[in-house]
């Protein structure tokens, strides 16, 4: 009897994942966005272990700016490295950075935003003025400033972008928490003697996570493009940590001699950004539990 029940519960959970995928599949564009994001994440994980050519140390000056050929399907870059390998490695760099940025920004943003929204009053006021300061500057310029202060390593760029991004999330979460905390079910939870923090973390936050997830997928392209932008502008770690923005930066002066470099790294950037946007569109419809089943 007991076992049967637990089996039933886990089955219903896998079922809900399957039904989510099914809902995603209903829209072909959304589903292709989803597939590309998953594929890119896989590439990002696999690349460091399985890559056709080494990109981190070897330089072949005799082979630079080569056009497409059988041994180098996309040609080579300014250091004579295989362009396909470099772009794949760039995927890995960019997606790792993306995950780290989202992780940092999400933790700070949710913690600060939820507490501010739930407690309200002076604490809320103080926090919101801090976010105002962050939001007052154009995001790229602020990120550049942080990057310049912190230094050229890729982790520093990541931190710089996260620092620019967290106020967005904390504002969003704060607004959601304020909307949610005045709903009647919160009152019934209080009437059943639940503690304030348990209500916030167990009941209010799960109700706010949906818009946050959607915001994340919409903001992911911004993170990738900002990272590429910082690299393009020379804030990056240099050629041995390949990245799409840095490739474009190196290649654009030679656009007419060797167009492959700019075209393909630009395309990678475009596809990654676009697929995140498509996925975000679909998630908005799918994540609503009221649409399930």
């Amino acid at each position: 009897m007991t076992n049967q029940r637990t089996v039933l519960r886990t089955r219903s959970r896998t079922k809900s994942i399957i039904s989510t995928l099914r809902l995603l599949r209903e829209n072909k564009l959304v589903f292709s966005g989803f597939l590309i994001v998953v594929a890119a994440l896989l590439v990002a994980v696999i690349t460091p272990f399985a890559i056709p050519y080494s990109v981190n140390s070897t330089v072949h000056f005799t082979d630079k700016w080569l056009p497409s050929s059988l041994s180098h399907p996309l040609g080579t870059d300014d250091l004579g490295r295989d362009l396909l390998s470099v772009i794949l490695w760039g995927t890995s760099t960019d997606f790792t950075a993306l995950v780290v940025v989202l992780g940092i920004a999400l933790s700070i943003g949710i913690l600060v935003g939820a507490t501010a929204g739930y407690l309200g009053g002076k604490f809320d006021e103080a926090i919101m003025r801090v976010t105002d300061v962050f939001l007052a500057f154009p995001s790229l310029i602020l990120a550049m400033t942080f990057a310049a202060i912190l230094g050229h390593a890729i982790i520093n760029l990541t931190i710089a972008i996260a620092l620019v991004y967290w106020p967005d999330i904390s504002r969003l979460v704060r607004g959601q928490v304020i909307a949610e905390k005045s709903k009647p079910y919160i009152e019934s939870l209080r009437a059943s003697g639940m503690s304030r923090y348990r209500i916030l973390y167990k009941h209010i936050l799960p109700n706010t996570i949906q818009p946050v997830m959607i915001q994340l997928t919409f903001k992911a392209p911004w993170v990738i493009i900002t990272l590429a932008g910082l690299n393009f502008l020379g804030f990056g770690p240099g050629p041995f940590t390949p990245d799409w923005g840095q490739l474009i930066s190196n290649g654009y002066a030679y656009f007419f001699e060797a167009p492959n470099v700019v075209i393909f790294s630009g395309l990678a950037l475009l596809i990654a950004s676009l697929s995140f946007n498509l996925l975000g569109d679909g998630l908005r419809d799918v994540l609503d539990p009221r649409l399930r089943r």
Binding site: L8, S188, L189, R190, S192, G193, M194, H203, R292
Partner: protein, 380 residues
């Protein structure tokens, strides 16, 4: 000496709004006996819900309990610190609200929400042992093999002994036990197939089912007092009757007192033993339900009773009480009901009446005090 579960003395709750001070509760006295069903009736805006919230200590800013006491288990709830008050909510006094959809969290299943009540409040270590005993008894009932039966009986006995000093249960076991007691609770509320229903989200259930779930959550910890604030108002009459019947049955099973807050005299007549009639933040009449219906004393109560539509007898126009509930910021002088009262005299405008009569039938009206002579003459 009667045993009271709750005794409210001279409770005053005020709302300090921008437009002025609202005297939502203006000196309410109320006692609820152990295991009793008590009703509070009144029109919209007379302070019924504020009474419930004041008892629970949940009056929101800008409202505040300014005077009086709420004595529960020998302690004055208005003076408890928030942490102690929180422990009383749910396990001591529980509350059921009007609209069960908006009062349930939309993103969790019924079972999860019910389980949480147990996990958060109950002594789970003990509950886990009880759960094991229940399970063992279940398999004992199904088992036919003698050797196995002996083994099970042995197991039950050890568990019974362990109940007094239960071992620390793992969180997984606790969750399982909480889930089991949740479905048991749902069974108690006559929800068929609780294992299946527990996996539903609130929006997938009907209004009656949701209200049963709310009641299950409220009764899960066997509180001494259940406050039902317009709990059946949103339901259709048949469902309402079922739920009220259930409440009556559960009252004797769990031995909780129930405070029913409603505007519907029909509900009062069906369920309550005693009833308080509220008007403009005051209790104006307080007596046995039967007495109230057969011998209503306060003109307001008489008005309420005569405005209930009747299906028998000749067709007649519906009676009503002229006017409406007064502006709570600028209350009328004297008796707050006098502008609407058909028997109002000069005295009623000048002086607020006290609660009069014997304890079994209290009424707040000059007609039973200073104007008694006039009333008796009029009745003759």
């Amino acid at each position: 000496m009667e045993e009271y579960v709750l005794s409210v003395q001279d409770l005053k709750t005020k709302f300090f709004t921008r437009h002025g001070v609202v005297n939502a509760l203006d000196g309410v006295n109320l006692t609820i006996r152990k295991g009793e069903i008590m009703g509070v009736v009144g029109e919209t805006g007379c302070g019924k819900s504020v009474l419930a919230l004041s008892i629970m200590g949940l009056v929101k800013y800008p409202g505040k309990v300014v005077e009086g006491s709420v004595v529960f288990r020998g302690r004055d709830l208005t003076k408890l610190d928030p942490d102690e008050m929180r422990k009383i909510r749910g396990s001591g006094i529980a509350m059921v609200f009007q609209d069960p959809l908006t009062f349930l969290n939309p993103v969790f299943t019924i079972g999860d929400q019910l389980s949480e009540v147990f996990l958060f409040h109950a002594e789970m270590d003990r509950k886990v042992v009880e759960y094991r005993i229940a399970k063992a008894k279940e398999s004992l009932a199904e088992s036919t093999n003698d050797g196995q039966r002996d083994q099970l009986i042995e197991e039950i006995n050890t568990l019974e002994r362990a109940k007094e000093a239960p071992a620390k249960a793992s969180s997984k076991e606790a969750r399982k036990a909480a889930w089991y007691f949740s479905t048991e609770m749902m069974r108690l509320l006559e929800i068929s197939d609780p294992e299946r229903v527990a996996k539903f989200y609130p929006h997938e259930l009907s209004g009656g089912m949701r209200q049963r779930i709310m009641i299950a959550m409220a009764l899960a910890l066997e509180p001494d007092l259940l406050i039902a604030d317009e709990a059946t108002t949103a339901l259709d009459v048949t469902t309402q009757a079922q739920i009220l019947q259930l409440l009556k049955e559960l009252r004797s099973r769990i031995n909780s007192a129930i405070l029913i807050i409603t505007h519907d005299l029909g509900i009062v007549a069906q369920t309550c033993e005693r009833v308080a009639v509220m008007y403009a933040g005051k209790i104006v009449e307080f007596t046995q339900t039967r007495e109230l219906f057969s011998n209503p004393k306060h003109p307001y109560t008489q008005g309420l009773l005569s405005s209930v539509p009747r299906m028998s007898g000749p067709e007649a126009d519906l009676e009503w009480i002229p006017g409406s509930v007064p502006d709570m910021i600028n209350l009328p002088s004297g008796c707050t009901f006098h502008p609407r009262c058909p028997f109002a005299q000069k005295l009623c405008e000048q002086e607020a009446p006290e609660m009069l009569g014997e304890t079994s039938h209290l009424v707040r009206c000059h007609l039973y005090g200073k104007l008694q002579a006039g009333r008796q003459a009029y009745e003759k």
